[in-house]
Every structure is written in structure tokens, then in C-alpha cells.
């Protein structure tokens, strides 16, 4: 059984159980390893990808649900917001263990694509689903504000 969708800008057909979570289809069938497994229950955000431009938890999204739709993973980020986010992440030295950071970058990018000038409350609302056990939260917040400033300029 195969599922066809647009993966990082290109048509992709994955031959896999349609009930398989998108996370595992991306990792084990498409071979894209940037999206991480952290909880399997949409509780931690490590598996965040964009589905038609919106952040979703790929660990609870069946592959069948993305048929004909557009999926972007950390490997396929292209938007100017994504670039600003990633530059700010490095500038502010956000990552520690780094395992959650793909998901953090995906959520932060989706936030800035929707809201070019997020407040702290907007950041709390958009990012509280992404757990970081290293607690890099202060730097994530600062990096999102920094990216927003750069995009405004």
C-alpha cells in the first residue's frame, strides 16, 4: 500500500502501512532522520513537521492522512522565516543535547510564518508543546525574538 504526497517540495510515494505514523514513515521509509521520536503521544513536540504549513506532531499522524498534502521536515525548510530562525539558533547557541531542536525549530518557524512579531505570550502558546529536557527555553525565546527582529528589518 503506498501513499503519495509532497515531501519537502517534491512528490514522494512511500510504500508503507497507511496506519504507520508519519514520523516512522519519514524516518524509516523516506530515510529522513532529522525528525525525532520523543514520546509517541504528541506530548513532547520532538517530531514536529509542517503539514500544509501548519505544525503537527508526526508521531500521531497516520501516513494516510497526508495523502495529496504538503509535508515539510527540518531537512526541507526553505522559508525566510526558517532561515532567520536557524541563524538565530546558532547565534544564540541554543542547542545543548540537541535532540528536541528539530522540533523546536519547526514550531518556531511555523510561529513566525503566521505571526511576524510574536509576544512572549504568543511564544508560550506556540512553543509550550515542545519539551526540552536541557531547558534551553530562555534561549529559544530570545532566538525567536531575534529572528523576528531580523525579519522586520
Amino acid at each position: 500500500m503506498s501513499t503519495t504526497f509532497v515531501l519537502n517540495g517534491k512528490s514522494a510515494t512511500l510504500d508503507a502501512d497507511p496506519t504507520m505514523p508519519l514520523l516512522w514513515a519519514l524516518r524509516e521509509v523516506a530515510g529522513l532522520h532529522g525528525t525525532k521520536y520523543g514520546c509517541g503521544m504528541a506530548l513532547c513536540g520532538a517530531c514536529t513537521v509542517h503539514l500544509d504549513g501548519k505544525p503537527i506532531r508526526s508521531c500521531v499522524t497516520p501516513l494516510s492522512q497526508v495523502a495529496g498534502r504538503k509535508v515539510i521536515t527540518i531537512e526541507g525548510l526553505q522559508s525566510k522565516q526558517a532561515k532567520a530562525v536557524q541563524v538565530a539558533w546558532i547565534e544564540l547557541q541554543v542547542p545543548q543535547c540537541g535532540y528536541c531542536q528539530s522540533g523546536q525549530v519547526m514550531s518556531a518557524t511555523a510561529l513566525l510564518e503566521k505571526n511576524p512579531a510574536p509576544t512572549d505570550a504568543d511564544i508560550d502558546s506556540a512553543m509550550s508543546g515542545n519539551i526540552c529536557r536541557c531547558a534551553t527555553y530562555s534561549r529559544i525565546r530570545a532566538a525567536i525574538h531575534s529572528a523576528a527582529e531580523v525579519l522586520k528589518a
Binding site: 504507520m20 525525532k36 531542536q101
Partner: protein, 731 residues
């Protein structure tokens, strides 16, 4: 692309399998030579392009690349960057040219000098034990590059300078990048003695060197164990007993075996392994598995039963961990007595990357890929499991997606599980990845132990603190395994650290320990003993200050008069937090706490707001840290920030509880950790110092809990005696 070429180059074997280009082969020769002789000239006629590898920690390529070989695991605390900074500083390397790769398991070359003969990372020791070793490694290589230039240019070595990866001679304007000197340097002897830099000349140490792993971790390309793939690799999950100490009575493999993609169902010592072609198939297979467990020997008590027993034990005779003066008598003579008890739950480490390991086992070799924290212990345990010699076990250490102590355990639990599956599978060289789910992690034991603390303080007529009696009840982390020899007179130092060694000047001190035996597997957890002792001591000293009518800061400063470094961080944190400006407005409060852990001194001032419903918000934490020489101030700040978030999550929400032996938590829904909206503003101030560097990965965790608890008291008048804090702070 296979994993072997996909992952970071790990060792000779990975190099050979991964690529095999001429330059990679040359690296291999350099590496071989390291252990055989200290003379670079012993390398068989270095071909053009061969690297210069003056010691086990460093390799310089003809392309000017400087590769630092890390004996430590990078699990987030910045060890790779710190290690590279020390070498690059003494080498005067160009930071942009510096790379880090992980060392193979080898206790001879790569032991943690704090641990003795074990290669491993922990106890906030990566910088402390590498400091002298790596400064010398860098300085000797620098001396050899200078000697090479002096030889090539026929000028005196004393006239040469090195800066940013370039050796220069002012008199002749000769300049050379490291790469062009490699060929000559490799023929020269390694100097026995070398002069290290004066700290005032440091260019990287004490400044901002960017993390070597930041970009890969931002772009999603950093390689974790989860990301290792080999052709034909299988994925295994284990169904483990629901109670600690239970064993398999019988199982029906048929329903699991019927799941498409499941290859084998195997009994292993830790349970039943489902081996499949993918994670999803293995997971569905495990869900379908039917197992009957024998729980006749299992731990079946509940946390509430255990804590009731601990409370009872706290009033029974205990073993002395510290005795100064006569605390019993001083308490009898006191005009005022303050008492309090504190209860601490089991805690899971819950690193973001659930545990996993990839194993390739054949008749005479075992290769392991993992975020490996105790390389030579894991090597020995893997060898024993596989019936091999340790030398036949190679370990490729990858980035670990967090650990907080979990991956460093003496039984090498997840490594041994993976090897046991590969063995049961037939040891035919098939690569097998063992993957834990989050539920496996939360249910999997090796928790921070549960503890009960009872404290009594005596004040004399002048309000002076004259007596301190502290009883601790809980399991011993060191009791089983190779560190048991470190238990002296029945006292496991990790149960009482932060309590037995309190720095406060009190004339009569008694710290006692009762060690319990419970069938729940336990382990060190970030900042180990101080994860509970610092809370008890620092919350209680605040209660004593209140009883004595003193300010918490003032009393601590008085009692730390003879402890300049602790007093130093206390004063710095108080000053930066504006402590002297007096209490915050109604509904808000400020609290302070100090800690010494792993020879690092930390003080934190927390500010909280409590709304009318009792909801607590931690607004701000001001942190002062004295960790000796600040190798990388930005990473030190990051570790304080992260430690504060980690510790705050634990005191507010963290609890693993047992009900009739069964763990009641499963995942991040009911094992709550700190989230973005709960992170306070953190300000970090580093005490300038030229003392040898000490660790920063753990100490920042210790003071935040009591600082926040003391701030809650200032805001509400309520003390926090049971952890985690009540959900709304008002029960």
C-alpha cells in the same frame, strides 16, 4: 548511504568501513602510532598528506584541520566544545578549523582521571579531569610545530610565534599554516616538558568559542543513536515485566509473530524481545505479545507504604556520617528548637532521546553504536554478555540526546539488553537496534531514590544556631556493583553529600544515615545527592533564620564567614538580585539558596508570584557561580540556565510513584517536566577566577528548588515539606 559513513567518524574501524580513501587510511596510521611510541618519527615514512598526531587527543591534517579526540560523551553539557577549547588554546589553533571526534573505548588512553581507570563521563568532571592533560597535549603539539618551522626555515625556535593556526617568523616574514608543517613535525620527538600559557594570554578560554555541535543540532543533521541505519538492520523492542523483580513465567509468541514485519520473538534475560524490520512493526508486535509474569519475588509495595516506613526509620538509631561536638546535648540545652521534615519522591531522568543502542554481533566481534557514557564499563559488560574478550568489543560513541546520569550505569542496562538480543538472534552479524519507548523509559527504573529527611536545629538564648541534627533515610546508589568499595563505615557518600559536608559554622553537628533496601532499581540523577540534600539543608536553614528573626541571606553569610568561595557566590547573587532592596510587594517573594557540588559553588535568588488561587509563577532566578577558570562562559551560563529549568521542573512536578509495585506514570502527560511557559528569566554571573576549572553540568540544579521554596514562603508563609510542590501551592 550507510550509517558507517553517515555517523561521525568514531574509530579506526568506522574509518575503514565508512570510506577507505587514501587520506582516511593515513589517519588510521597516525592513530595506530599513538599507542605504540611517543616519537612521531616512528610513523612509517609519512606520505604526503599524512596527519600529525602527537598524542592520543589530537590530529592535525595537511589540510590544516585540527581534530580533537574526545574521551568524553557529548550529552548536551558542552563537553566536546570545552575539550576542543582547551587543546586549541594551548595549540593557538584557528577555532574555525577545529573538529571533534569521539575516542574509542580505551581505559589506558582515555580514562577519566577523576574516576581512575574507567573511561566515562559524569560527576561534572569532563573539564576538571581534562584540564591539565589537554593543555599539555595542545602545548606539546604547538612546540613541535614550532620546532618543525624552525627546522624548515633554519631560524631559532625562540623567534617564532603562533597565532590562529599560523606559525610566523617576524625577522624573515615567513608564515606557515599548520598543515604545511605537519610533514616535518611528524618526524620530531615529542617534548617531555612544555610551558603552559599564562592565563592572561588566553584567547579562547574565558571568551566565547561557539559550540562545535550547534549548527548540526540546528539543521537536524546531528547523528544520534536513533539515526543509525545499516542495510538489513532490524529494530527490537523488549516487553519487560510490569513489576521490578518479576520474571517471565510463559509467553505466547504467535500473536506477535503474526504481525507483518516481525522477524523473531526471543526470550532474553530482561524480558521478551520482538525483532522486526521496522520500529512500527516491532511496536505492534510487542503490543500483541502475550506474557504471563511470575511476580512472586517482585517489589509490590506502594510509595505511600515506603514513605511511612522511612518516616518511622527516621526516629530509629542511624549511622553517623558527620559528628562534631554534641548535637544531642546542645539540642537539650537549646532555648528554641526548630524541626522540619522533607519528603522526596523517586525521579526519572527522562532524557529527550529514549535509550537505544545498535549492535552488530558476530562470533568474534561486537560493535556497538550508542550515546555511550561509561565506555569501558559498557565494553566489559557487553563482552561478558556476548562471551567475548573486551578487546573484541568496540564502541562508537554518538551524541546522546540527554542523559542526566541515566546512561551511566554499572550494569549497562540498555547496552546489555541490545547485546543479549543480538546473541539470542544468533550472533550472525545482523545489525540490530534496540529502541526504548518513552513508556519504557518512565517504567524502566534506575530512578533518583526516594528519601526522607528530618532536621532539628537548636538556638541558644542569644538566638545563635548551636545545634544541627540531620537524619536521612533512603536507598544507597553505590550499594551494589563495583563502587560498593567506596562505602565507608556503612555510609554511602552519595546519600549524604550536600548534607554531611555543610559549610555552615555550627558548633554541634550530627548527620546520620539509615540506608534502606527496596526492590526498586536506582541511580544517580543530575547533581546526585545534592538533588535532595541541598533542598533539605537550604529550606531548613531558611526556617531556622525565620525562627531566629534573621534574614536568610544575613544568617547564611554569618555562618559562611570562613568559607570565602561560598560566601562569594552568596554575596554576588544577593547583590545582583537586589536583595538589599527589601521584600517584594504582596503576593510576591524572594528566596535564596547556596550549594557546593563537585567543587563548584552556586548561589541562586528566586523571585516568585503567587496569585489568589495559589498558582505559583517563578519570575526570575539570579545565579552566581564559581567554577574556577571559566573555560567557556557562555556554556557555563547555558548550564546554569538549563540546570535551573531541570531542577525547577523536578521540584514542581517530578514524581515517580508506585501503587502495589506498579509505576503509576507512563509518559510526559503524567510525568510532568518543565515547559516553555514555566521557565523563569535567568541571569547568570560568573565569579572571575584562575583556580583550576570545576564542573558546571550539574551544580546549577541544586539550589533552585530551595530558593523557590523559600521565595514561596516569603510570598505566602507556606513551607514546602513534600516534593513535588502541591499542584496549586495552596494545599
Amino acid at each position: 548511504m550507510t550509517a558507517a559513513s553517515n555517523i561521525l567518524p568514531q574509530s579506526r574501524r568506522a574509518f575503514l568501513k565508512g570510506a577507505g580513501s587514501a587520506s582516511v587510511m593515513a589517519l588510521t596510521i597516525g592513530f595506530e602510532w599513538i599507542s605504540s611510541t611517543r616519537r612521531a618519527g616512528a610513523v612509517a615514512a609519512p606520505a604526503s598528506g599524512a596527519p600529525f598526531a602527537p598524542n592520543a587527543f589530537l590530529r592535525i591534517g595537511a589540510d590544516d584541520s585540527v581534530t580533537v579526540i574526545a574521551k568524553h560523551l557529548e550529552m548536551g553539557q558542552g563537553a566536546y566544545t570545552g575539550i576542543a577549547t582547551i587543546v586549541a588554546e594551548e595549540l593557538d589553533a584557528d577555532w574555525a578549523q577545529v573538529r571533534v571526534e569521539s575516542a574509542p573505548a580505551d581505559a589506558k588512553r582515555y580514562a577519566n582521571l577523576v574516576f581512575g581507570t574507567i573511561q566515562g563521563t559524569g560527576g561534572s568532571s569532563a573539564m576538571a579531569n581534562s584540564w591539565k592533560q589537554l593543555r599539555e597535549a595542545g602545548a606539546k603539539a604547538r612546540a613541535m610545530l614550532i620546532a618543525a618551522a624552525a627546522s624548515d626555515w633554519h631560524v631559532p625556535a625562540s623567534e617564532l610565534t603562533v597565532s590562529n593556526g599560523v606559525v610566523s617568523h617576524a625577522g624573515t616574514n615567513a608564515r606557515a599554516k599548520f598543515g604545511s608543517l605537519v610533514k616535518t613535525a611528524a618526524t620530531l620527538p615529542v617534548p617531555d616538558q612544555v610551558t603552559l600559557k599564562d592565563p592572561k594570554d588566553f584567547k579562547l578560554i574565558g571568551h566565547k568559542a561557539a559550540r562545535v555541535d550547534a549548527a548540526a543540532k540546528t539543521y537536524g543533521s546531528a547523528q544520534f543513536t536513533l539515526d543509525v541505519v545499516f542495510p538489513g538492520m532490524l529494530v527490537a523492542l523488549i516487553k519487560r515485566p510490569p513489576l521490578f523483580g518479576a520474571t517471565v513465567k510463559s509467553f505466547d509468541a504467535a500473536p506477535a509473530g503474526a504481525v507483518p514485519g516481525v522477524v523473531k520473538v526471543l526470550q532474553v534475560p530482561r524480558g521478551i524481545a520482538v525483532v522486526a524490520k521496522s520500529f512500527w512493526a516491532a511496536k505492534q508486535g510487542r503490543d500483541a505479545l502475550q506474557v504471563d509474569w511470575d511476580d512472586s519475588k517482585a517489589e509490590k509495595r506502594s510509595s505511600t507504604d515506603l514513605m511511612a516506613e522511612y518516616r518511622r526509620l527516621a526516629d530509629q538509631p542511624a549511622l553517623p556520617a558527620r559528628k562534631e561536638g554534641d548535637a544531642d546535648r546542645a539540642l537539650r540545652d537549646a532555648t528554641q528548637i526548630v524541626t522540619a521534615s522533607y519528603e522526596f519522591p523517586y525521579l526519572a531522568h527522562a532524557p529527550m532521546e529514549p535509550l537505544g543502542a545498535v549492535v552488530k554481533l558476530s562470533a568474534n566481534s561486537c560493535e556497538i553504536w550508542a550515546g555511550d557514557q561509561f565506555q569501558t564499563i559498557d565494553q566489559a559488560n557487553a563482552a561478558r554478555t556476548a562471551d567475548l574478550d573486551p578487546a573484541q568489543v568496540s564502541i562508537h560513541t554518538l551524541y546522546a540526546g540527554g542523559s542526566f546520569g541515566r546512561r551511566a550505569n554499572l550494569e549497562s542496562d540498555y547496552i546489555v539488553e541490545a547485546v543479549s538480543i543480538a546473541k539470542a538472534y544468533g550472533a550472525d552479524g545482523t545489525p540490530i537496534k534496540l529502541q526504548w519507548t518513552r513508556e519504557d523509559d518512565i517504567h524502566g527504573g534506575l530512578y533518583r531514590p526516594m528519601y526522607f529527611h528530618k532536621l532539628e536545629a537548636g538556638l541558644n538564648a542569644q538566638g545563635q544556631l548551636t545545634a544541627w541534627r540531620h537524619v536521612i533515610v533512603g536507598q544507597s546508589i553505590m550499594a551494589d556493583g563495583i563502587f560498593a568499595a567506596m562505602i565507608k563505615d556503612g555510609i554511602d557518600g552519595t546519600s549524604v553529600e550536600g548534607a554531611a559536608n555543610i559549610a555552615y559554622a555550627i558548633p554541634n553537628i550530627a548527620v546520620n544515615l539509615t540506608t534502606t533496601k527496596i526492590g526498586v532499581p536506582i541511580l544517580w540523577w543530575r547533581v546526585v545527592g545534592s538533588s535532595h540534600t541541598t533542598f533539605a539543608v537550604e529550606a531548613f536553614i531558611d526556617e531556622v533564620a525565620h525562627a531566629a528573626g534573621e534574614d536568610g541571606f544575613t544568617l547564611r553569610r554569618k555562618l559562611l564567614e570562613h568559607h570565602p568561595r561560598l560566601k562569594g557566590v552568596l554575596e554576588l547573587a544577593a547583590e545582583k538580585a537586589g536583595w538589599s532592596s527589601g521584600p517584594l510587594p504582596a503576593g510576591r517573594g524572594r528566596g535564596i539558596a547556596v550549594a557546593e557540588a563537585f567543587n563548584t559553588y552556586v548561589a541562586q535568588v528566586a523571585e516568585v508570584s503567587v496569585d489568589k488561587d495559589g498558582h505559583i509563577r517563578v519570575d526570575r532566578v539570579v545565579c552566581a557561580v564559581d567554577c574556577g577558570t571559566a573555560i567557556n562562559p557562555d556554556i557555563i551560563a547555558a548550564q546554569m540556565e538549563g540546570g535551573i529549568g531541570f531542577g525547577l521542573g523536578a521540584v514542581r512536578y517530578g514524581a515517580i510513584t508506585l501503587k502495589d509495585g506498579r509505576i503509576e506514570q507512563d509518559n510526559f502527560n503524567n510525568y510532568r517536566v518543565l515547559r516553555m511557559n514555566e521557565m523563569p528569566r535567568v541571569e547568570v554571573h560568573i565569579v572571575p577566577s584562575i583556580e583550576a576549572p570545576t564542573g558546571v553540568g550539574e551544580p546549577g540544579v541544586a539550589p533552585v528548588g530551595p530558593a523557590v521554596a523559600n521565595a514561596i514562603f516569603a510570598a505566602t508563609g507556606r513551607r514546602m515539606h513534600v516534593l513535588p510542590f502541591p499542584k496549586t501551592g495552596d494545599t
